[in-house]
């Protein structure tokens, strides 16, 4: 009779193996791309920036829900992805202008809201909220899945002194599980499962051939 602990470890191993295989299977489910593309073509004035409303209405993204951003431009631009809601970002901008230029009235503050210099100052002040910071020229495309559930606001900034023609296309991306998080646990589970299940399987095989 086989020792009971071999049976116990074998069953634990087979369960770990099955969980690992299920994880591997789930991680192989391909990305699905949203059918809705949010497109916006505009001229961005010199030393100005523009906030871009995300296509999923709420502006909230997660490790399961990401973005594909495609930008086409005739000049150099700075593309940011910020982990803040557009309203929150505008609040930061208003506060920053009011603090640094205390003599400005409401109307003047509103006029200065879209200045690229304000954006630069805010990006430096809230560097932890910058998810993506890329210099873009010509055609540019990137895929982004945040590491945690977060707001995401796309910002394009024109630091140059000439107006720039910009076309921004954003698509939502969906995945069942974030692949990079699942691969290591799946491999660990499969390997440890195989190690534990082997003595049990060998024993079962021997019993079968003996009978």
């Amino acid at each position: 009779m086989k020792p009971r602990w071999i049976n116990l470890l074998g069953r634990i191993g087979s369960i770990l193996l099955v969980i690992g295989l299920a994880l591997a299977l789930v991680s192989r489910i391909p990305l699905s791309v949203s059918r809705v593309t949010s497109t916006n073509r505009f001229i961005l004035g010199p030393e100005k920036y523009s906030l871009y409303i995300s296509p999923n209405y709420t502006g909230v993204y997660s490790p399961q829900m990401g973005l594909r951003i495609s930008v086409t431009t005739n000049n150099s631009l700075q593309l940011y992805l910020l982990s803040a809601h557009p309203l929150r970002f505008t609040g930061w901008a208003k506060t920053w202008i009011a603090e640094n230029f205390p003599n400005l009235n409401e109307a003047q503050i509103s006029m200065g809201l879209n200045n690229a210099s304000v954006l630069e100052a805010l990006v430096q002040a809230h560097s932890t909220d910058v998810l993506l910071n890329e210099e873009v020229k010509g055609n540019f495309s990137t895929t982004y899945f945040p590491q945690k559930i977060t707001n995401a606001t796309i910002v394009v900034s024109n630091p140059s002194l000439i107006p720039v023609d910009v076309n921004v296309e954003v698509k939502g991306l969906f995945t069942v599980v974030p692949r990079e998080r699942v691969v290591t646990p799946a491999i660990t589970l499969i390997v440890s499962g195989i190690v534990l299940v082997l003595p049990w399987t060998i024993g079962k095989g021997r019993d079968y051939f003996r009978s």
């Binding site: 009971r4 069953r11 087979s14 369960i15 099955v18 969980i19 295989l21 299920a22 994880l23 299977l25 789930v26 999923n56 709420t58 909230v60 997660s62 490790p63 399961q64 829900m65 590491q147 945690k148 559930i149 707001n151 969906f174 069942v176 599980v177 974030p178 998080r181 699942v182 646990p185």
Partner: protein, 267 residues
């Protein structure tokens, strides 16, 4: 020979019976696939603005949907079919010949049929939560635990009722069907209570329903059910008391099952 050894013998025999290869593996696979495929973080986006606690609740709640149903099927199979089979085929007589009290034999059976299934369910759920959203789970562990406590209350109540019914009828098939009907009845009861509550403009039906299935009070506390928010928004303490009350009911039903098994049942 101490009491631990015969207890372990009964437990091992029950484990062998309840989880024959590859039943446990199939359920583990279903739990895992069900958990990840239904883990829709997008569904919690509406909650994001309210509070992060509400996000933790909604995440755990959405993750447990299908696996909770699979868990119920597994425990009902184990209790009704397993225990019922033991009673019908006279295996229980052999188990009762061990130098153990009847309640210890039943505890060993329940540890196998309920405890191991619960361990697998919670293990995979917690693993999935940590894998998908550690930033939510770590700071709000209390909320996640509370959500699972509330979620498991009704399945455990169903399990207790099925245990009592199986012991009483000494047959598993009827108890199994009754258990499945009871599980689905909770949804009907919940919908009915919500309908009546709106019709009579009173939160009493909701409170009565929350004693049986306290997830409703948690949903309303975290604002996950906007339609009923006007009728009832329980405080945290109130929500805790409803979860407590539901577990008092669960313990009472299990005690009835134990008492019948120990004192009244003729084998």
């Amino acid at each position: 020979m101490g009491k631990a050894e015969p207890f372990l013998e009964v437990l091992i025999s029950s484990l062998n019976e309840d989880y024959r290869f590859p039943i446990f593996e199939i359920f583990a696979f279903l739990y895992t696939v069900g958990t990840f495929v239904l883990a829709n973080l997008a569904s919690i986006i509406g909650q994001f603005i309210k509070s992060e606690e509400a996000v933790a609740f909604t995440l755990a709640y959405s993750l447990a949907g299908l696996p909770a149903f699979i868990f119920v099927i597994l425990i009902l199979k184990n209790i009704a079919y397993g225990l019922g089979n033991d009673l019908e085929k006279g295996i229980m007589q052999t188990l009762l010949s061990y130098p153990l009290k009847r309640r210890s034999v039943l505890t060993a059976k329940l540890l196998s049929s309920l405890g191991v299934a619960l361990l697998l369910f919670l293990g995979i759920q917690v693993f999935a939560l940590f894998l998908l959203a550690p930033d939510i789970v770590f700071p709000y562990m209390g909320t996640v635990l509370l959500t699972y406590l509330a979620l498991l209350s009704y399945p455990l109540l169903t399990a207790g009722l099925v245990l009592a019914l199986t012991s009483f009828l000494k047959r598993g098939s009827i108890a199994l069907i009754a258990g499945i009907v009871l599980y689905f009845a909770s949804n009907i009861l919940s919908s009915l209570s919500q309908f009546i509550a709106r019709a009579i403009d009173s939160n009493l039906p909701l409170k009565a329903s929350a004693i049986i299935d306290p997830t409703l009070s948690l949903q309303l506390h975290y604002g996950a059910n906007i339609q009923l928010a006007e009728l009832w928004t329980p405080s945290f303490t109130e929500t805790l008391s409803y979860i407590g009350a539901s577990y008092v009911l669960v313990i009472f039903v299990f005690m009835l099952g134990y008492l019948y098994f120990e004192r009244k049942m003729e084998i």
